[in-house]
C-alpha cells in the first residue's frame, strides 16, 4: 500500500502513458554521436537559464556564461536603459572573445561603462553598439552601425535570466516554461539574496546527473551514513515515496515530504543541527511567511518539505518548505562530462544563528553532492561498457523517463527537420 495516494491509473507513470513502463536504454547518455546532435537539437534551441537579475545590480553590471554545448560564450549585461541584454561574447573585428580575464575559457563578471576588446581596442557600449574603431580611417567603408555586437535572445522570468541561441524560435520564455512555472509566480525569489554557489566538474553525462536529482529513491540508501543511525534505519525501512509528480510538456516536478524540518525526534539529527536548527532540509525556523503559489505542494500535504522542478533541458529549481530555494544547472562539456552548478538562496540572515543555520545547510549540500557526483561517474563508466543495455525504472523514477524521452524527442525532431531540409536542397539543385 502506498503511503501517499497515486493517480487512478494505479501509478504516476501510467498517468502519463506516452512515457511507457518498459525498461529503458541509456544509449542517449553514452554515445558521442548522440551528444553531437543534442548540442544543436537541445542546447542550440531551448531557453537556458544563465543566472539571476541580482547578478546585475547596476547599469554596467555584467557576467559571462560559457555554453560549451552550443560552442559559444555569451555576455549578459544591464544596459543604460536598465534592460537585461545578452550578446555573443565576440568582437566584430577579428573574432576575439570580447570579455574575459586571464583565462579565456573561464567565466567572469564585473561592472563596466563599455566593453573594450583586448586585441585592438574596439569599443562597444552597453547596448552593444560599436562606438570606437582604433585608427578608423585605416578601414575601408566600414560603417560602425553595421558592426554592433550580435544580440542573443534574452528574457527573464521571476528574476531568472534565460538566453535562447535559436534566432528563429519565437516562443516567449514564459510560454516555454509553461504552467508549472506560471504556478510558481509570486514566490518571493527576489527576497532570497544570500547566495552560496558551488561548481563541480562531473564525469557523467548531463542527463545522468539530473537523473540523480529528480528521484529520491536513492536517498535512504546512498546517503544512509549522513543521518545518525536511528534516522538512517527509519529511512531505509520506509524507503521513499513522493507526495506527487506533475508533468507539463517537457517539464516536470516531484513534490516531497520534509523529513527533518523540524525533526519530530531530536535524537535523529546531528548534535550541531540541534543547536543550529538546521540541516540538509535547510533552516527549521522560517524567516518569512509565504502564501504558497499553486505549483508548490500540489497535494497540499501537511508534511510537505520540498518541490523539485526540472525545466528542460538543464535547469532545476528546488523550493523548500522553510522558505529557501536551490538551483541546479548542468552544462555539458562532452558526452560524458559536464559542469554542475548548485546555488543556495536564503533570506539574508539577521542573527548569528540564522547565518550559521544557512552555513550548515550549505555545507551539508556539498557533502551530499560529492557522494552523488562520484556515484554518477561510476554509473557512466559501467553504462559505457554496454554489458547491460536495458534497465527498469520504478514509479518513483518517472522524471527520468520524462527527461530521456524529451531529450530523444528533441533530437528526433531536429533530425527530421534536417533530413527535410536536405531533401529540399537536393530537390532544388
Amino acid at each position: 500500500m502506498p503511503h501517499f495516494p497515486k493517480p487512478a491509473e494505479g501509478s504516476w507513470t501510467e498517468h502519463y502513458p506516452y512515457l511507457g513502463t518498459g525498461p529503458v536504454t541509456y544509449e542517449d547518455s553514452i554515445s558521442p554521436e548522440h551528444y553531437e546532435v543534442e548540442r544543436k537539437a537541445i542546447f542550440g534551441r531551448t531557453w537556458l537559464n544563465v543566472g539571476r537579475v541580482e547578478q546585475l545590480p547596476r547599469v554596467g553590471s555584467y557576467f559571462t556564461k560559457e555554453i560549451d554545448a552550443a560552442n559559444t560564450s555569451v555576455v549578459v549585461v544591464r544596459s543604460a536603459d536598465q534592460q537585461v541584454r545578452a550578446f555573443y561574447n565576440m568582437c566584430r573585428h577579428r573574432g576575439n572573445k570580447l570579455v574575459w580575464q586571464d583565462y579565456p575559457g573561464e567565466e567572469t563578471n564585473g561592472t563596466c561603462r563599455q566593453f573594450t576588446c583586448k586585441y585592438h581596442g574596439w569599443r562597444y557600449n552597453l547596448e552593444g553598439d560599436l562606438t570606437f574603431i582604433q585608427q578608423e580611417p585605416e578601414f575601408f567603408d566600414v560603417d560602425k552601425a553595421d558592426y554592433g555586437l550580435v544580440p542573443v535572445r534574452v528574457e527573464t522570468w521571476e528574476g531568472f535570466i534565460f538566453v535562447n541561441l535559436d534566432a528563429h524560435d519565437t516562443t516567449p520564455l514564459r510560454d516555454y516554461l509553461g504552467e508549472l512555472a506560471r504556478g510558481l509566480e509570486g514566490y518571493p525569489f527576489d527576497q532570497m539574496t544570500q547566495v552560496f554557489k558551488y561548481r563541480a566538474v562531473v564525469g557523467a553525462n548531463w542527463k545522468l546527473f539530473i537523473d540523480a536529482f529528480t528521484e529520491f529513491y536513492h536517498a535512504p540508501v546512498l546517503h544512509a551514513r549522513q543521518a545518525v543511525s536511528a534516522e538512517s534505519q527509519k529511512l531505509s525501512q520506509f524507503g521513499y515515496e513522493a507526495l506527487s509528480y506533475q508533468i507539463a510538456g517537457p517539464h516536470g516536478m516531484v513534490s516531497s515530504w520534509g523529513g527533518m524540518s523540524p525533526p519530530k525526534d531530536l535524537d535523529m539529527v546531528k548534535p550541531i543541527e540541534r543547536v543550529l536548527h538546521s540541516g540538509l532540509f535547510g533552516p527549521w525556523d522560517r524567516p518569512i511567511e509565504i502564501e504558497l503559489p499553486p505549483s508548490l505542494n500540489p497535494a497540499r500535504s501537511p508534511v510537505w518539505g520540498v518541490d523539485s522542478f526540472l525545466f528542460f533541458p538543464n535547469f532545476m529549481l528546488l523550493v523548500w518548505a522553510p522558505n529557501w530555494y536551490l538551483t541546479y544547472n548542468y552544462w555539458p562539456t562532452s558526452y560524458n562530462t559536464h559542469i554542475f552548478e548548485g546555488t543556495l538562496y536564503f533570506v539574508p540572515p539577521k542573527t548569528a544563528r540564522e547565518r550559521l543555520s544557512q552555513e550548515i545547510a550549505a555545507v551539508t549540500f556539498k557533502e551530499y553532492a560529492l557522494q552523488d557526483g562520484n556515484t554518477l561517474e561510476a554509473t557512466q563508466t559501467m553504462l559505457e561498457s554496454r554489458a547491460v543495455t536495458q534497465f527498469p525504472l520504478g514509479d518513483q523514477e518517472i522524471l527520468l523517463r520524462l527527461l530521456h524521452h524529451t531529450a530523444r524527442e528533441y533530437v528526433a525532431d531536429y533530425q527530421r527537420q534536417q533530413s527535410g531540409t536536405s531533401e529540399r536542397v537536393g530537390a532544388t539543385s
Binding site: Q194, V195, F196, K197, Y198, R199, A200, V201, V202, L222, R225, Q226, V228, K270, P271, I272, V275, L276, F340, E341, G342, T343, P349, K350, T351, A352, R353, R355, L356, Q358, E359, I360, A362, V363, T364, K366, E367, A369, L370, Q371, G373, N374, T375, E377
Partner: protein, 108 residues
C-alpha cells in the same frame, strides 16, 4: 593570527580555524587528523550558543574584528561537524576524486 574576544580565550589555541573562506576551511579539514578535529570540536561545540550570543551584540554587517573571527571559527566548527559527528574520517565517504568548489559565498 586571528584574535578572538577575551571571553573566548579558551578557544585561542584553535584560532587557526578562524578562516574566512570555505575553500580554506575545507582544505584545513582534509589536512587535519581526526584527533585534531575532535579536540577542536570538543572545545568549540559547548561554546557555540555563547558564541552566537556574543556575535549578536553587533549587526552581522558591522561586526568588530574579534566577533568576525569568532564567526569564522563557528563556520569551521560546522565544517568539522561532519567528520566528527558522522563520518569518522575527514573525507566524505564514497566521494573518491569528486570535488566541488565554492564560487560564490556570502560576504559575512
Amino acid at each position: 593570527m586571528a584574535t578572538l574576544p577575551a571571553e573566548f580565550a579558551d578557544l585561542e589555541p584553535f584560532a587557526d580555524w578562524c578562516l574566512e573562506f570555505e575553500r580554506e576551511r575545507y582544505a584545513k579539514r582534509l589536512s587535519s587528523s581526526m584527533e585534531e578535529m575532535q579536540a577542536f570540536y570538543d572545545a568549540a561545540f559547548p561554546r557555540l550558543e555563547a558564541a552566537m550570543a556574543y556575535i549578536d551584540r553587533s549587526p552581522l554587517d558591522a561586526l568588530p574584528d574579534d566577533a568576525r573571527h569568532l564567526l569564522w571559527l563557528c563556520y569551521s566548527l560546522v565544517n568539522v561537524s561532519f567528520p566528527v559527528e558522522v563520518w569518522r574520517q575527514p573525507y566524505v565517504p564514497d566521494s573518491g576524486a569528486a570535488s566541488m568548489d565554492v564560487v560564490v559565498e556570502p560576504a559575512v
